[in-house]
Symmetry: C2
DNA sequence: GAGTGGTCTAGACCACTGT
DNA sequence: CAGTGGTCTAGACCACTCC
């Protein structure tokens, strides 16, 4: 004998998958479902909350339970790194034209709103290990948020870390008011004599924390992609570590791996 | 005035984050929490279920609510593709030694259990578009599952698609009893005259469906990584499409992007 | 103001895990 | 068998959305 809330969830899930309930459509009111399935309200609500956790519906207080629409995906390609490296030594007017995110998304600079915040921190055990420096080493931490001009929530929050002593060679790099910096971090590193050899990106996924739900404007029933980007220069030194949080339901990361010919 | 279940969740979350409640520890019984917070059982349970959704605790019927332990990560590196290409033309004994997953994880063949299932399907709109063939074109679908010998659930389920006509050039490729095929798919493609030029991987994240919770042995409160790998040969033809489902709490994907020198 | 979901209570009974 | 979480009910009142 199947559990009541599971049967109800299965039934509604089926209606959504087969398209009987279209994306954007409102489900019957919870009180209607009570009559329909002859079960109590809390049972109905439990069924609905499992559908919410699966990302199939969205609960809107005062409006109803809505079938989720697939969201438009933002691509994030790994060829952005080479593209950014090529740009890093261009003259400023050219660098100013567009940034890496615009390169990925095909949007223009004016479609996106960019926000930066700088501060200094000390390396904890985790970052100290990645940089290969002692714990407590001073770091420049930079927090970036990118969002569409017409939307409230950013689709990208990243925390970038640079060795403070390295960044301080060019005092302009310590000043957040220069952001958005034309040419991005690779240009900034170029001004202190750094050339990148490779970028290593590590990706995992997990459910969002409450803070991330706030920050990224998620509804519950989504996952987040956690990306750690490590930039390594031609002397095999780690010169930047960047932790990026991306909403899983609107981000598609594209990694192209070229292979040597036989 | 904060909601009661939120205050309780915040309080418990704090205890977990600060380490007052260690991973693996049991929370007080729900009835104890009722006394402690002077709230009704359903309210307590609502607080606990938000913690479960965040992946912080795991509910074990009859035992208690347990603080989740971080899981051991399995790495999946993109240099596996070049590694596999290099192997593809080696003699069979060498190919038989280890596979790409063992290369990633540093485990030996005997630590892993591999399972394959072949069948034929027709290309739906999605796959037809990626392959650049008409809908209904016959495909060979191969379902692979990989798991640790000591564990029940696989950490990797993938659906690989090949053009049937291409695979049929070597009848051995149609027979699942040859799996695990030494040298992997790139060697198989080699036997029908295909050389890969590049691999394109697209990654998103989302909450698991009920089926995936079953298949991958997940507890609720985890996310899955969805990866689509597209293999493109030196004539710019799509020769394999592979959809991979990975549990987000035990997988770390590593992508290294080498950059050209200035 | 009508309709809808959100929060919370009090309590009954079932099912699983351990000893 | 004791202890624990899982399922379900019936009903009160609050908060948001939209007309």
């Amino acid at each position: 004998m199947a559990k009541a809330y599971e049967r109800i969830a299965d039934d509604l899930r089926g209606q959504i998958r087969t398209g009987q309930l279209q994306p954007g459509a409102r489900l019957p009111a919870e009180t209607k479902l009570v009559e329909q399935y002859k079960k109590s309200l809390p049972t109905i609500r439990q069924a609905l909350s499992t559908l919410q956790a699966e990302g199939l519906i969205e609960k809107q207080h005062g409006r109803g339970n809505i079938v989720r629409k697939p969201r438009r995906l933002v691509e994030r390609r790994n060829d952005r790194h080479q593209w950014e490296k090529d740009r890093a030594r261009e003259p400023e007017p050219k660098r100013r034209e567009t940034g890496a995110t615009e390169h990925d998304t095909g949007l223009s600079v004016s479609d996106l709103v960019f926000n930066a915040e700088y501060r200094t921190t000390e390396a904890g055990p985790d970052l100290a290990q990645v940089f290969g420096v002692p714990e407590g080493t001073q770091l420049l931490e930079r927090i970036f948020r990118t969002r569409y001009r017409e939307e409230d929530a950013p689709f990208n929050v990243s925390h970038s870390y640079l060795l403070y002593d390295l960044a301080a060679k060019n005092p302009d790099l310590l000043d957040e008011s220069y952001e958005p910096w034309p040419g991005g971090t690779q240009n900034q590193l170029h001004t202190v004599g750094v050339e990148l050899d490779r970028v290593e990106e590590r990706v995992t996924a997990r459910p969002p924390t409450v803070e991330e739900i706030e920050d990224l404007g998620l509804t519950s029933g989504t996952a987040i992609l956690v990306l750690r980007k490590v930039c390594i220069d031609i002397n095999d030194r780690v010169v930047e570590v960047c932790d990026v949080t991306l909403p899983g339901d609107r981000t598609e990361m594209v990694f192209t791996t070229p292979l040597a010919r036989w």
